[in-house]
């Protein structure tokens, strides 16, 4: 498949991360600025209650900041951040699943999509709504890997290190998510 390159956030230099490890709040602010949008995008797509996305992203960054002294440079910073965020989202989904049924927050999520501001980029509201509804039907464990791979741009080897799931199983999950999306969305586009 022709891989669609995901939009990349600013690459942080090692010095910024080292300064943040020592508690430099300005360096940490640079980290948040570099990754906040991507984290929010991931959390909105991952969470059953997308309205919690900002809170969960904040929770992930707080955990990251507390754990920064334990961060080892040989680990890729970005994958470590998304590993923490993935854990936070999974926990939130488990709690939400106990409390409510699925899909109740689609409307809230779609309202937010409308408010996004990207000049010069065409926006098809109905298509966006369909994609999010279809994605919400993909099981969590397939959706997360699909998002990490196609939306956040992580390779299978890196996702294996992040999740502990073998690459063959990861590919299968992405395939299942893709199949399900295609099946649900083909009806929308009339193919």
């Amino acid at each position: 498949m022709q891989r669609i390159a995901p939009p990349q956030s600013a690459v942080l230099d090692a010095k910024t991360i080292s300064r943040a490890k020592l508690g430099d709040i300005d360096a940490f602010t640079s980290i948040v600025e570099a990754y906040h949008q991507r984290c929010l995008r991931f959390a909105r797509a991952m969470l059953r209650n997308a309205d919690d996305a900002e809170d969960m992203v904040q929770e992930a960054f707080v955990r990251l900041y507390r754990a920064l002294p334990r961060y080892e440079e040989r680990q890729r910073f970005e994958s470590w951040l998304f590993q923490i965020l993935g854990n936070v989202c999974r926990t939130a989904n488990t709690v939400h699943h106990r409390e409510t049924s699925r899909f109740v927050d689609d409307e809230i999520a779609l309202e937010r999509v409308q408010s996004d501001d990207q000049p010069g980029r065409s926006f098809d509201h109905e298509w966006g709504e369909s994609v999010r509804k279809a994605l919400a039907e993909v099981p969590d464990y397939n959706r997360e890997i699909f998002l990490l791979h196609y939306i956040e741009g992580f390779g299978y080897d890196e996702i294996e290190r992040m999740t502990g799931v073998k690459q063959s199983a990861l590919k299968m999950r992405v395939k299942r998510a893709s199949d399900q999306l295609r099946s649900l969305l083909s009806k929308e586009v009339g193919t």
Partner: protein, 202 residues
């Protein structure tokens, strides 16, 4: 690659999902403030760090309080049998149990605030700097720098509250190192190991 993955519909969906939300400066400020507050907060306020110790403290305090109330009541009853006044023992019993309850509350608060001196040691002759980091200092490498002796042993002694503590050593400001003499604990959220020390009450 499967046919499904090559599907243009899926590609279009991926493009849609790759749209980034707008940069929200206020949200970023909130995150930074929350993180800064979390890092400076005393670790003993984090219920996740000391769940057992805390529950034991609460139940111990309640137990002491109940015992104090019973003791006060018994004392009151004994006095009733010796003294002619009917009202006095009841007042005495209440006063006694209230006093003891206050004392118990005070003791529990003191125990909560009581710390125990603990020495942490790392053999690292090649290191230029070593700092102790852990839940007790919010993983702040600036909080507890260690001192080196002639043999290359780094050590520091700090006061920590009783309970279970996870910690490690920051070598040369960048390498997180476990204590080879301590138990290890996996942190499921952060995916890393930490050393564990159980600190008993004084």
């Amino acid at each position: 690659m499967s046919g499904a993955e090559r599907d243009p519909v899926v590609n279009r969906a991926i493009e849609e999902l790759q749209r980034l939300p707008a940069l929200d400066r206020h949200a970023i400020d909130r995150v930074v403030r929350a993180a800064a507050a979390a890092r400076v907060a005393p670790a003993e306020l984090d219920p996740a760090d000391l769940p057992r110790t805390r529950s034991i403290r609460v139940w111990s305090a309640l137990g002491f309080a109940a015992a104090a109330a019973v003791a006060g009541f018994v004392i009151g009853e004994l006095r009733t049998s010796k003294e002619p006044s009917v009202e006095t023992p009841i007042v005495t019993a209440q006063t006694s149990s209230d006093t003891q309850l206050r004392a118990v509350r005070g003791s529990a608060a003191m125990l909560d605030n009581m710390t125990v001196a603990q020495e942490f040691v790392l053999e690292a002759a090649q290191a230029d700097r070593v700092a102790l980091v852990g839940d007790f200092n919010s993983w702040n490498p600036k909080a507890n720098a260690m001192t080196r002796d002639a043999a290359g042993k780094w050590s520091t002694t700090i006061n920590v509250v009783p309970g279970r503590h996870v910690y490690g050593f920051m070598v040369n400001d960048s390498i997180f190192t476990l204590d080879p003499r301590a138990m290890k604990a996996r942190d499921p959220d952060l995916g890393g190991d930490g050393s564990v020390r159980i600190v008993g009450r004084p």
